[in-house]
């Protein structure tokens, strides 16, 4: 709770989202704490099944059965979101906290023009005239780099390219100037040249508007391009967090180290990469203690006990055998 007492725009403490399936309980998010300040970008990194997307959905109260938030707190601008009635949550969602998805068509209606969709999005929270709504739609479309916005606002989603559609989805989210935006793999389906444009534009928007952004991605390089801080998730837990540069140059958790070594970009071409053995464990059959233990080169008997979150300056990790000395030397 001590995090929430400070002036964070978003403070999550011990959040747990579990899925109650016939085969057992999947602890997709299991005791995650994080916080965000105004204008700050947090990169949430993990491989598939790490729980990073469920984390994003949990923040917006969008977890469907058999999933349920079973513990922890989510404080948005000082207000607790857990336990709010669906109607109260609906008034907050879209206005104070909003989400961008990997597939923009998940957010866009194919049979309505952009203008109509944006007018409906505004009307969900405010009463405005059609003319004012149109002006605001054109304004946000221009902001995300859509050329000729005054004309394009009358177009349908299929008349836009993939990159432009994602821009429209981002523009829709900007309509209410939310305090927090959660973006789940928003550039993964896009080509590198378009990805580069959107990364640069979103970073500029965050800096200008003071919005806080959680950028969920499997791609460390993309996350490093936009984030102030990074949190690395593995099997439902944040195993390491800290300022982007420190985490990437001197990781404390062996899993972060392994992820970095797996990337071919930095290695000498043609040489074998230092790979992490094995695969991510299924959530229904997580190992006791540290979930990374079976794949970890530093694991000992001690790792059968789950490591607690250990603060380390402005960083934190969950590991009995962190790479602290290596980090200090580096």
């Amino acid at each position: 709770m001590n995090q929430a007492t400070r002036n964070h725009v978003l403070a999550v403490d011990g959040l747990a989202t579990h899925f109650f399936t016939k085969a057992g309980i999947a602890r997709a998010v299991d005791g995650v704490s994080l916080h965000l300040d105004r204008g700050e970008v947090l990169g949430l990194v993990g491989e598939s099944g790490s729980g990073k997307s469920v984390m994003g959905f949990s923040l917006l109260g969008l977890v469907d059965p058999p999933g349920r938030i079973v513990g922890g707190s989510i404080r948005l601008q000082g207000r607790e979101l857990r336990g709010l009635e669906p109607e109260a949550l609906r008034r907050i969602r879209g206005r104070s906290i909003a989400m961008i998805f990997q597939d923009p068509m998940a957010a866009l209606n194919p049979v309505l023009t952009i203008e109509t969709q944006m007018r409906l999005a505004i009307a969900a929270h405010e009463r405005v005239s059609a003319r004012a709504a149109r002006a605001r739609a054109i304004e946000v479309l221009g902001r995300v780099g859509i050329p000729d916005a005054a004309r394009r606002v009358s177009a349908y989603p299929h008349q836009f390219s993939g990159g432009m559609r994602q821009r429209v989805a981002i523009a829709t989210v900007l309509l209410h100037r939310p305090a927090v935006i959660v973006a789940d793999e928003p550039t993964t389906a896009l080509d590198v040249s378009i990805q580069g444009q959107i990364l640069a534009e979103l970073r500029a928007l965050v800096d200008e508007l003071g919005t806080a952004l959680i950028w969920i991605s499997h791609d460390l390089a993309v996350v490093s391009a936009i984030s102030d801080r990074i949190a690395v998730m593995y099997a439902g837990r944040i195993v390491e967090e800290g300022p982007t540069g420190r985490v990437l140059t001197a990781p404390l958790h062996p899993y972060t180290r392994g992820l970095l070594d797996s990337l071919p970009g930095e290695a000498e071409p043609g040489r074998e990469l230092r790979q992490i053995p094995g695969a991510t464990p299924p959530l229904l059959r997580l190992p006791e203690g540290c979930a990374f233990r079976p794949r970890c080169p530093r694991a000992t008997d001690l790792c059968a006990i789950a490591p607690a979150r250990t603060p380390h300056g402005e960083r934190a990790f969950r590991c009995h055998h962190p790479l602290v000395q290596a980090a200090e030397a580096g």
Partner: protein, 337 residues
Amino acid sequence: MTVEFLEAKALSRDFAPRLSVGDRIAALFGGAVETRALRAVDDVSFTIARGETLGLVGESGCGKSTLGRMIAGILPPTRGTVMLEGAPVMARGRKVTTRIQTVFQDPYASLDPRMLIGKTIAEGPLAHRMIAKADATAFAARWLETVGLDGDHAARYPHQFSGGQRQRVAIARALAMAPEMLVCDEPVASLDVSIQAQIINLFLRLRGELDLTMLFISHDLGVVRHLSDRVAVMYLGRVVELGPSAQLYQAPRHPYTHALISAVPKLKSGRSRFAAIAGEVPSPLDPPSGCVFHPRCPLSVARCRVERPPPRVLGDRIVACHRAEEMPDVLRPAASA
């Protein structure tokens, strides 16, 4: 005269829209029906030496998969030929060699879900009488072990494997045909980072052990750099630059190569630097005149709008740009911005 191991000669591939009777009548009366052919690959030539890996990079829609399928002999070119040691890989629209095999991005789509893995692996070699039926089980088990799986897994179905394991099965099936060359189309694109590294290492090891020649297609510049001796960069159906991997990444000669490399975020301390390319890839149905990259090119001049730059040799590179001599120095300041 030496014969190249693999030679792509002036390859082009058009895709014409298949018009219904109604569409044809509508077109006759001036209706808005798309009758133009799309040129996915436009006059591409290159060679690959035995044992060499050629990387092929480009954004979606650039024609890299179409080119790969023509090299593999599974898609007939509209014009041009693919020769393997002087013999065409296709005849009358059919593949006529087993010496080239293919590994695709999605192993789930390329493995029969109702067929046991062991049977899938032995199917091709049995059909081509490369092995006897009695040896099929042991044969499949041996290949599974070669790609890092358990020999007993031959008695399983595709759905019982993870994504990374399925890709290993797909590699085993391709290699079971004893090919000399593999065409790999985005084989690691849908895998997690840690699994991707394992498969890249598998390719590196097998390539050395089996002396394989490879065409490695990917949108991921880092993966291609790691695996390739030479790299070809495609844009809107054309190879705009081709050269030795290290040199091409370090000092690109084509503005598009330069832009593509600069657009990829790199892991550096703090927020990484990257430079976005302006604009979007134009529709291949209506490619720009002259050099197809000119509307997005920071170096474009009047000549680029009218005259298509032919591929030409420049030092260690083949490059299709009127201003290649000035590269990369002319763009250096932009790169570090």
